[in-house]
């Protein structure tokens, strides 16, 4: 038992394991990079880097490969074990210690980013004000109480629930929602234009004039466009079946118990305690060319509590950081009549970790190689003397 323990400690702390794990990581990154041709970067991250085991097919031959989490944790384990058992902290090794400690931080930081980082997009038309951002990847069913013209009361139901449950009730809703049919990705077209639609279930609203044609979900980074037929059932019985689709230009609406309600399938929203007003978008070209020189959005930021009201210019390499969020210039349309800007909104509580980790690693390597270099020069000058 003792020798087994010793042997396994030696195995987990060994440099051989380090080299094998590094080589496996390199191959992982290489194949994953090629896979981006088919999958796009978001799905590749999910499949290869934020997973424990990867099942990959090349043609018809499938194989298993350790995922990013597995390799990352093993490397971490290997590194910690090596430091506990093999390394002694001396000046000569101080550089390696710093480098390795930086690496541990970097791996943990990336792991935390994977867990906590959230990306949203915020499309604002010139002159418009918005206080929410939309998800790049997820949709929601929004049930909106629009009775009060000043404020909407929104009950947001994640798409996942619509996909898996047949009936949805919520304390804020005076009615029950029955999911008659759900399609993860479907085109919404006028009835007469649809070639192969699914059976029409809509009995109320503008959905009666439209038809749905399901498609396999997109294999790349595009947002899927889900659709569903939903029956609204009140205490006195059914109010009809409505069509909701991420492609619908406006929400369905109906009146129940004296209140006006709206139904919409839309990208998940995250409301913020402040609003952005887009004052101006600019996209300059270099003179005499069509090479873009800059993209910039001039925004006015106002907090709900009224304590802050400032103008910011967001442009390439110059994001706006506010309230734990970072706003980046993502896309824009500045030439056409309808001008808008799309900002990417990122919340990543661990964003500072890589900066610290990197500084440590760079310092560590410089110290280590500096020590070696000086020793080498010293030896040569003594040999020459």
């Amino acid at each position: 038992m003792r020798t087994f323990w010793k042997n396994s400690v030696r195995f987990f702390a060994s440099l051989k394991l380090t080299v094998v794990l590094l080589a496996l990581s390199m191959v992982l990154i290489f194949i994953a990079t090629w896979d981006q041709r088919d999958l796009g970067v978001y799905l590749v991250q999910k499949k290869w880097f934020r997973s424990f085991v990867v099942v990959h097919f090349i043609g018809k031959i499938g194989f298993l490969y350790p995922g990013g989490y597995t390799l990352g944790f093993l490397l971490l384990f290997n590194l910690v074990a090596a430091h506990i058992t093999r390394f002694k902290l001396t000046w000569k090794k101080s550089g390696i210690f710093l480098t390795h400690f930086g690496l541990i931080l970097l791996l943990l930081g990336e792991f935390c980013s994977g867990l906590w980082q959230e990306d949203f997009s915020m499309r604002i038309d010139e002159g418009q004000t918005k206080n929410y951002a939309e998800s790049f990847h997820f949709n929601e069913l929004a049930v909106i109480d629009a009775t009060d013209p000043k404020t909407d009361r929104v009950t947001a139901i994640p798409e996942q629930i619509v996909a898996t449950q047949t009936a949805i009730s919520h304390s804020s809703l005076p009615f029950r929602i029955e999911v008659k049919a759900y399609y993860p990705h479907a085109a919404m077209q006028l009835r007469e234009q649809a070639a192969n639609p699914v059976p029409q279930l809509a009995t109320a609203g503008f959905g009666r004039r439209f038809a749905l044609t399901p498609f396999p979900p997109p294999k790349s980074d595009d947002l899927p466009l889900p659709a569903a037929y939903l029956e609204i059932v009140g205490t006195e019985g059914s109010l009809g079946t409505f069509l909701v689709s991420a492609m619908a230009p406006q929400p369905e609406s109906f009146v129940y118990a004296g209140r006006t309600w709206q139904l919409a399938m839309r990208p998940q929203r995250e409301y913020k305690p402040f609003s952005l007003h887009l004052l101006k978008v600019t996209n300059d070209l270099y003179p005499g060319s069509d090479i873009p020189k800059n993209y910039a959005s001039l925004v006015r930021l106002e907090t709900e509590d009224g304590h802050q009201d400032q103008e910011f210019k967001i442009y390439m390499n110059n994001p706006l950081r506010f309230g734990g969020y970072t706003f980046y210039q993502y896309q824009m349309q500045a030439q056409a009549a309808e001008k808008f800007s799309v900002l990417q909104v990122v919340r990543n509580p661990s964003w500072l970790v890589p900066y610290i980790a990197c500084a440590l690693m760079a310092l560590g390597l410089s110290v280590q190689f500096g020590i070696s270099l000086f020793r080498f020069i010293d030896k040569r000058s003594r040999a020459a003397a």
């Binding site: 990581s25 041709r37 270099y286 890589p354 190689f369």
Partner: protein
């Protein structure tokens, strides 16, 4: 003599470089050098017409020489003379073979098949040279007149190719798109100074200038409801239509800005003419270019040179800062520092290799001097590019190739200064020649000093992240080439003794350490830049992954050595594989055509990259031959 030889080599090398610094001389009576220095705006940068001519020729036909193999003399002596004929005597330029076409199907489309393509040499010497492969046996360049009858069909095929997703285009479709873009480039260049069908543009301008006041008055009268000169107004509206088309079509913008507050916004000839109504007179640049055209067409060198002289004097007053850059750029074009370095590197390589067989000290030192000269010349060339373009040294694939060669050259000089065994010079020669040839092929795409697209337009990050990561590429490649020297020299020659082998191992180890440091720091800085501009530190973008793979590979080499898993030969094998890794990260990721970093790469690049990978794998295969069969180690135990 043996002591003198290195100094003589050094002196000759200096003379060779200095030869490029002489001011260009005119080969005809016309002041072509003066014309080549005239500034114009193109793609966001004010550059001399010399650069416009050279880059356009490179784009159209992959070289600057305007020549037909069947003729004894080139059509013209210099790119600038070609440009003069394109804009002032297009009927002549249209007969020059300046459109390169390689695709067989496309050649068929323009009616060139079988015997049409064979080059018919008159001299028997040339015929035998062709048989030996020294001269081309087939035509690959064609004139505008060759293409003209087929423009409609080319246009139709272009539309078809454009409607196809770029991933699924056939080689023919890609060739059609390249050709049609070249034809349009040529046409736009042709009409950048003189409108089409203008028999005497100078006379037209004089008349236009004379009627300007009348037209403005007529327009003002009509506006005010008073009687007006209908004739003058009609002439003006015809002229406006004509010059508007000229402005829309323009490629080069040779007329300085109307508004001094926006001095960089130079105008096309068409726009300048349209602005004449407001300014009250035709811009002097347009009059000058028309006068130059008249003198060129009528073969009046004295008048041509006098106009150039006056024009230059006026511009020295109005555009002093633009002229400083364009003048230097012309000198830079003529000096060809990178081409000359290429030759010096090649010569240094041969001298250094010979030094292992004979006269180690004399030849070794000569090679060292040549490498140093080549390094100085590339440094000067890169500094000139930085000053002219206003950016950090690495801005695109072309300049990354220059920089990789420069880093490797610098490191080799350091190694050579320490070890004095000519190994550094051999490695510098190989990498110097290799990277400069790569750079030459990458330059065929057009201007290599292009303006940076919005997201990349940050000199801070260009000069930190890009420089460090490219230094990492250069060092990793250098380690690989040193390892190749170890394998080939040890396996094929008897010249590598134990001391040399140990020295090589120390060099490779040291360079790998250096490469690890720089590629790691560079990759990290890239992450920070990404965090600043795209909102995430690490996005698993192909180019980012490529950089990371280099870091990991260098870390593998170091850990394998520290753990005693590899010794001298194993270290070399790993270092050679580092070449494959670097090749893929540097160029392979551009082949994927996905991600934020994918810019400019051709399909011929793919073939070369695959060949490079196979070559390195083959050398690894050689390295696996048991040591007892290596000529240097036979009879010894290593």
């Amino acid at each position: 003599m043996k002591k003198l030889l290195p100094l003589i080599v050094l002196a000759l090398g200096i003379c060779y470089l200095a030869d490029g610094l002489r001011a260009p001389k005119n080969t005809t009576d016309f002041d072509l050098a003066g014309f080549s220095r005239l500034p114009a705006l193109l793609n966001g940068r004010i550059k001399p017409l010399d650069t416009v001519a050279r880059n356009t020729l490179l784009t159209l036909q992959g070289r600057q020489l305007v020549n037909n193999p069947e003729m004894d003399h080139a059509y013209v002596d210099s790119p600038i003379e070609w440009l003069l004929n394109v804009i002032y005597r297009p009927e002549l330029a249209d007969t020059y073979t300046t459109f390169r076409i390689d695709n067989r199907e496309l050649l068929g489309l323009i009616g060139k098949t079988g015997d049409d393509l064979k080059v018919k040499y008159t001299s028997s010497v040339k015929q035998s040279m062709t048989t030996l492969g020294f001269l081309p046996s087939h035509h690959s360049r064609f004139s505008y007149n060759d293409l003209a009858p087929h423009l409609d069909e080319i246009d139709r095929q272009t539309k078809l190719a454009n409607s196809t997703d770029s991933k699924f285009r056939t080689p023919f479709q890609r060739a059609v798109l390249a050709l049609s873009s070249n034809v349009s480039l040529y046409q736009r260049l042709k009409y950048s100074f003189v409108p089409p069908d203008s028999t005497d543009f100078y006379a037209e301008l004089m008349q236009f200038q004379g009627t300007l006041a009348k037209s403005v008055e007529a327009a003002a009268n009509r506006e005010a409801g008073k009687p007006y000169d209908t004739e003058a107004l009609k002439a003006a509206s015809d002229a406006i239509r004509r010059y508007q088309a000229l402005a829309d079509f323009a490629y080069v913008h040779p007329v300085s800005a109307l508004d001094p507050a926006h001095a960089v916004e130079w105008r096309s000839v068409g726009q300048g003419l349209l602005d004449s109504y407001a300014a009250g007179e035709v811009p002097y640049e347009i009059m000058t270019y028309a006068a130059l055209g008249k003198a060129w067409r009528e073969n009046q060198p004295a008048r041509f040179n006098e106009v150039i002289r006056l024009f230059r004097r006026a511009q020295e007053k109005l555009q002093p800062s633009a002229l400083r850059k364009t003048d230097l750029e012309v000198r830079f074009n003529v000096a060809e520092p990178f081409y000359r370095s290429l030759n010096l590197y090649a010569l240094a390589f041969f001298l250094a290799v010979f030094s292992w067989l004979r006269w180690a000290d004399t030849l070794g030192r000569s090679a060292f001097y040549l490498v140093a000269l080549a390094f100085v010349a590339t440094t000067a060339g890169m500094l000139a590019r930085m000053w002219i373009g206003g950016y950090a040294p690495v801005t695109n694939l072309y300049s990354s190739a220059l920089f990789v060669g420069w880093v490797a050259g610098g490191l080799c000089l350091a190694l050579e200064a320490i070890y004095r065994n000519a190994i550094g010079s051999v490695a510098a020669g190989m990498i110097g020649v290799g990277t400069l040839i790569i750079a030459h092929h990458l330059s065929i795409g057009g201007d290599t000093m292009e303006m940076m697209r919005a997201v990349l337009d940050s000199n801070f990050w260009l000069s930190t992240h890009v420089i460090t990561v490219t230094t990492g590429y250069g060092a990793t490649l250098l380690a690989g080439f040193l390892a190749i020297i170890y394998v080939l020299r040890g396996l094929l020659t008897k010249s590598m003794d134990k001391a040399t082998a140990d020295a090589l191992a120390r060099m490779v180890y040291g360079i790998v350490c250096f490469a690890t440091l720089f590629s790691l720091v560079g990759t990290i800085l890239g992450g920070i830049w990404a965090d600043q501009s795209w909102g995430r530190f690490w996005g698993w973008d192909p180019k980012e992954n490529g950089a990371l793979i280099i870091v990991i590979w260098n870390a593998i080499i170091l850990h394998a050595r520290w753990g005693g898993m590899v010794r001298q030969r194993g270290l070399m094998i790993l270092a050679i594989f580092g070449n494959v890794v670097t090749g893929w990260s540097w160029f392979g990721t551009n082949l994927l055509e996905v991600g934020l970093h994918s810019y400019g790469f051709t399909s011929s690049g793919r073939t070369n990259l695959i060949a490079f990978v196979i070559l390195n794998l083959a050398i690894i295969g050689l390295a696996l031959i048991p040591l007892k069969n290596w000529r240097s180690f036979r009879g010894t135990t290593a």
